[in-house]
Symmetry: C2
Subunit: 356 residues, 2 copies
């Protein structure tokens, strides 16, 4: 039975990517060798890394002066690395707290210096994105999380600030058009719109680095990785390869402008049903709704078993909400086809009929 995979991450990847990713394990580039048993310094893998890096630059439409590297450790390690690389030894930074991942980023940053939380939506269960806050003038950088997987909120307009703009885009990079050149540092775990778990994308403006006065450990130093073309040590070979395949797929689809249209249509379809169907209510503030993670609850939890049976029978997986929100979360990343969203909407309507 075909599965409709709404997992929040690791999550759905395009079928054609999975096919190529499976083939490369047996025989990569007709070498009669597996991708995962060749040297990362071999011509064949160096090409993969360079292709992945240049696809990122192309798809994000980055001007000169930015470096792209593929690291390990996920956004969780970037919480630390971004601070290490940008926070001066006696410096300050400002953070926007929009949920679990922001909170974790703030916790790690505090180990290295003075952190100001400019605003937080914690008191409302993180169901909205704070606006109209002030960013102090004397901070080394301002950090925000573009999309909040757990709560289903997404920043639509990024704050203007004179300080450096740092953004954790783990769960919505490559999903919508933005002026990426407004950001000084972007990081993203691969396991949503870019590829499988195991690698982290870092996009950084070169001129901002090397100014903290810190003696940064080599593996945490962006400049070290950049100077070695993202090959300071053995990279996470397979995760980089599958990311490259996914970026190629996105390029062939028409890039971010094309996928953005599809993502908007998928989200519109699902949110419309949530708003129309009296058995459901959305979790996030309407104006802050994420195009990637659609969070919703039943208006009456006593019908949970009935609804769960319906979507289970439809082949839907991965829509259980995070324990801190409850209810449901349908993650509809780039690779999710409209067809699967329609299957979920059909299940919601079947549920309504069954109860009427």
């Amino acid at each position: 039975m075909k599965k409709h995979n709404f997992s929040a991450g690791p999550c759905i990847l395009p079928q054609e990517v999975l096919k190529k990713a499976s083939d490369a394990i047996l025989n990569f580039n007709n070498l009669n060798l597996s991708l995962i048993e060749i040297s990362h310094r071999s011509k064949d893998f160096v090409e993969v890394m360079e292709n992945a890096r240049s696809l990122v630059k192309e798809l994000l439409n980055l001007p000169d002066g930015y470096s792209v590297i593929f690291l390990q450790g996920g956004a969780s390690l970037e919480f630390l690395m971004s601070t290490y690389n940008l926070l001066k030894t006696d410096g300050k930074a400002a953070y926007l707290d929009t949920g679990t991942w922001s909170t974790k980023a703030i916790k790690e940053a505090k180990k290295l210096g003075e952190i100001t939380v400019v605003a937080s939506s914690k008191d409302a269960g993180y169901n909205y994105i704070p606006k109209n806050y002030e960013i102090p003038n004397d901070v080394d950088f301002f950090h925000c999380t573009s999309n909040n997987t757990i709560f289903g909120t997404q920043i639509k307009e990024f704050s203007k600030t004179d300080s450096l703009l740092v953004c954790d885009m783990s769960s919505d990079i490559f999903s919508r058009q933005l002026d990426f050149s407004k950001f000084d540092l972007i990081y993203a775990g691969a396991q949503k719109n870019m590829g499988p778990a195991g690698t982290t994308l870092v996009v950084v403006k070169d001129e901002i680095l090397g100014k903290t006065g810190r003696d940064i450990p080599s593996m945490l130093d962006y400049q070290v990785h950049i100077s070695k073309d993202s090959m300071f040590n053995t990279p996470s070979v397979y995760a980089v390869y599958v990311s490259m395949l996914t970026l190629e797929w996105l390029k062939n689809l028409g890039g971010i402008p094309a996928v953005e249209k599809i993502n908007e249509a998928k989200a519109a379809l699902l949110y419309a049903e949530i708003d129309r169907n009296p058995l459901f209510k959305g979790y996030a503030n309407k104006e802050d709704r994420s195009l990637m993670n659609v969070t919703f609850n039943l208006t009456d939890d006593t019908h949970k078993e009935t609804f769960d049976k319906i979507w289970n029978e439809a082949g839907i997986v991965g829509i259980k909400g995070h324990r801190s929100v409850g209810g449901y979360r349908a993650s509809i990343y780039n690779a999710m086809p409209m067809e699967s969203v329609q299957v979920l909407v059909d299940a919601m309507q079947k549920f309504e009929k069954q109860l009427s």
Copy 2:
């Protein structure tokens, strides 16, 4: 044409592992989902992680009191993490310098405290393992590298010390019988005897942790990862899975005692030919020769083209020596069949005949 893959790492993996690893990308556990698109919190992947962790304990015959975790960042990040977790804020540590990887470990450790290098074979191009050095009594730990991929040397007897014993076993773990309970901390990048690049094995005695007085960043803190069963953040899912498959393969083969015998036979065959054939000379001191990486040079470099043509035509790949040693390096890790070593020996003998 069949390839004989002598790459130093990432390197050869068992064919049956590659077959299963390829299948799992298309359909994992008959879920009709790819392994790399399911949640790392799903029952199916949690089982993979737990199986991998318990196979490590079983194969290394670890007593109670040890934890096994799968991290990211390779040995290069462990150079830093091991120091962070074991070196007291005002502490000292002792290191044995046996090559490039030891040197890198020492460099990162020095950022956190006072490091004594107890011995080094640098002056002899790292072609031997220093012995009879003294480890100071007042150090927090002693660190060594069990096998040196670049130079082809391997520690046969580990030093007795009253301080903690820390070992980078990236390139020979699971290849030979040792009393692993003598070590307090072992770390190893997966991409040699354990799996593909992208995950790092850490084996640590629980009681030694939490004693440095340092405020360790979460992602660098072994206790954080242990407390979350190696799932503090999204792990490198695919690399952990393929490592699990490789550990299962090793268990079915008869574990470390069985593979050790095969490894000794492969190394004996190749070193015998190097010593017999007047056209070759070994690089490493005989008593310190590695069973994993066999380094050798031509006695007369003018014949290089002739020999290179012969092994190329035999389907051999990955035996070019590291630039700091020159010549050749044949890496004969666990998954390398005797048949491939014989093909290399045949090529060496064909070379001899051709020149006679």
